[in-house]
């Protein structure tokens, strides 16, 4: 069989996956707190052919010829640059202005609770039992405070204000002010995080096998480190997808797809010629 065909089909398959990644980025170009992801191509294995064992002709390269077998997508990497800030003037909209800082969300998982990390800061109040309210994210999951517990309060709050250090002040109807520290963590190795959905990230399940602890990957900002937090109220972080870059990538990938499809056609015609010998 012609290697041209397998080389090209290997690559076509991977180009298709890159199209998927670009498509996902473009679809999320208006999602608040979305971080674009991108993947780079790598060469597939090379194969050595010793087609000229008796060859004594002068040559520059080591003996034999080396053939590649196409290209494959390497790692998908997250671009953790901060997106532009959008003023919304809503009291429960928060934007983290330092890269790699995340809100912590408590998400129920099978048989317990899972901490997920997000930069999407549009929060809401959900009523719970006994006239209490709870701070939740847009999916309805509780937002954690710096102790990792849900934030509940008497549901008569008239005003919410937040300072740059992530301290949320709730003014109750009777004038008393309650202060809550929003739980903020720093992702030391953003590429180790697992993307659970568009803007939610979780720790990989095999963390222990990798030989790292949760603290090494996600450092909670508590006590003295709290001053690293940089948060803005009444604002949301827009997606950091670069529309023009994604579109140019889309065109490049599409053209590459055509080029490789052309290789398949050419290989097919060559096979036709071989068949036509007799």
């Amino acid at each position: 069989m012609l290697r041209t065909m397998s080389t090209a089909t290997n690559t076509l398959n991977q180009l298709q996956q890159q199209l998927d990644i670009i498509g996902n980025n473009l679809a999320n170009s208006a999602t608040h707190g979305y971080k674009s992801s991108n993947a780079k191509f790598h060469e597939l294995l090379y194969q050595q052919f010793n087609n000229d064992k008796a060859d004594t002709a002068p040559r520059q390269s080591p003996l034999g010829i080396r053939y590649g077998s196409g290209a494959v997508l390497g790692q998908a990497q997250m671009n953790w640059k901060v997106g532009s800030l959008q003023t919304t003037d809503r009291q429960l909209d928060f934007a983290l202005t330092e890269p790699k800082q995340y809100f912590t969300i408590l998400m129920p998982s099978d048989g317990g609770e899972q901490t997920v990390y997000t930069r999407q800061g549009n929060f809401y109040i959900s009523p719970v039992a006994n006239g209490q309210g709870m701070l939740v994210n847009s999916e309805g999951y509780p937002v954690a405070n710096s102790e990792g517990l849900p934030i509940t309060f008497a549901d008569d709050v008239t005003n919410f204000t937040v300072d740059a250090g992530g301290m949320l002040a709730l003014t109750h109807a009777n004038g008393t002010v309650e202060r809550v520290e929003l739980g903020i963590t720093v992702a030391q190795r953003p590429n180790l995080l697992q993307r659970l959905s568009g803007t939610n990230f979780g720790l990989p399940a095999n963390l222990a096998d990798l030989g790292v602890t949760q603290q090494e990957v996600m450092t909670d900002l508590r006590g003295a480190t709290r001053n690293q937090v940089s948060l803005e109220g009444g604002m949301l972080e827009a997606s950091n997808v670069n529309y023009e870059k994604e579109m140019t990538d889309l065109i490049t990938v599409q053209r590459s797809y055509q080029f490789n499809a052309r290789s398949v056609t050419m290989a097919d015609q060559m096979l036709g010629l071989i068949n036509g010998i007799r």
Binding site: T4, K40, H42, N51, D55, G70, S256
Partner: protein, 278 residues
């Protein structure tokens, strides 16, 4: 037997190998740091032919003189002798990722013997300590914090040590010094190959030396200059238009060989059906 029959057969194989190589170039038109392959097609050693003839001298006993008269040299086919990577610099592409580095060639000395220019590479190390060389600066942090390529090969500094980092909040200067905040952590190791053609190409954009010995440090070689650019990758140096044209040329050459093969076949058909008729 017709001598040319096998000559055109070898021509078809050589052109097929050429298309296979070009298809791989085309497949890697988006691979960062990819170096396009070039082929050299070489003629088989020529055969010197002479005809055996006899001259009868009219004597009493009928004396015969046997002799050889030269006919000339005849070629018996072609084969693909070498695949040589083209080490020209690819275009730089912005990626915004802190762990992406483009290695930009400065002045590189030319080898006096072969007349080819030297090449510089990043130094990588596999789990067993063997060194590999690459132009693909798409790196990442592994779970233990080492700077690696996506396949997990460790990136080495200029002392041949692995580079351990706290997080990917790094800055890389033009000289390749990795700064974590104010502190210089390490300097990216760059190796220089005086005869890059002698390197063996492996998968994933990596090269290694034939005997497994390490290349010399580029800083120790007089006249080598280079610079680095963080947040950029060196694109593939494949020219898609040229590759496509070459592929069409190879395809047509393949077709021409096939036509000659058919012509030989028709001659043989005549030999069987017309000459051999009883």
């Amino acid at each position: 037997m017709f001598r040319g029959f096998y000559t055109v057969g070898s021509g078809m194989i050589a052109q097929q190998r050429r298309t296979e190589m070009l298809a791989n170039n085309l497949a890697n038109a988006n691979t960062p740091g990819f170096k396009a392959e070039q082929s050299s097609i070489r003629s088989f050693p020529e055969m010197y032919m002479s005809s055996i003839n006899t001259t009868r001298i009219p004597t009493k006993d009928g004396f015969q003189l046997k002799g050889l008269s030269p006919v000339g040299a005849v070629s018996t086919g072609v084969y693909m002798q070498e695949t040589l990577p083209l080490f020209a610099q690819g275009q730089l592409r912005e990626t915004e990722l802190t762990t992406d580095v483009a290695l930009i060639d400065g002045l590189l000395p030319v080898d006096n013997e072969t007349g080819t220019q030297g090449a510089i590479f990043f130094r990588l190390e596999d789990a067993n300590g063997g060194e590999h060389y690459t132009k693909n600066g798409n790196f990442t942090l592994d779970p233990s914090g080492y700077l690696t390529n996506p396949q997990g090969y460790y990136v080495l500094d200029n002392n041949g040590q692995r580079i351990a980092l706290q997080n990917d909040d790094i800055e890389i200067t033009q000289e390749g010094v990795i700064m974590n905040g104010e502190n210089a952590v390490a300097t990216l190791g760059i190796s220089f190959a005086q005869r890059p053609d002698a390197l063996l190409k492996q998968g994933n954009g990596m090269f290694k030396t034939e005997g497994g010995e390490n290349l010399q440090n580029a800083n120790a070689v007089a006249g080598v200059t280079y610079s680095m650019q963080q947040g950029y990758l060196e694109g593939s140096n494949v020219d898609a238009a040229q590759t496509m044209t070459d592929m069409m040329t190879a395809y047509r050459a393949f077709e021409a060989n096939q036509k000659i093969l058919q012509a030989y076949d028709r001659s043989m058909e005549k030999a069987v059906t017309e000459i051999g008729r009883i």
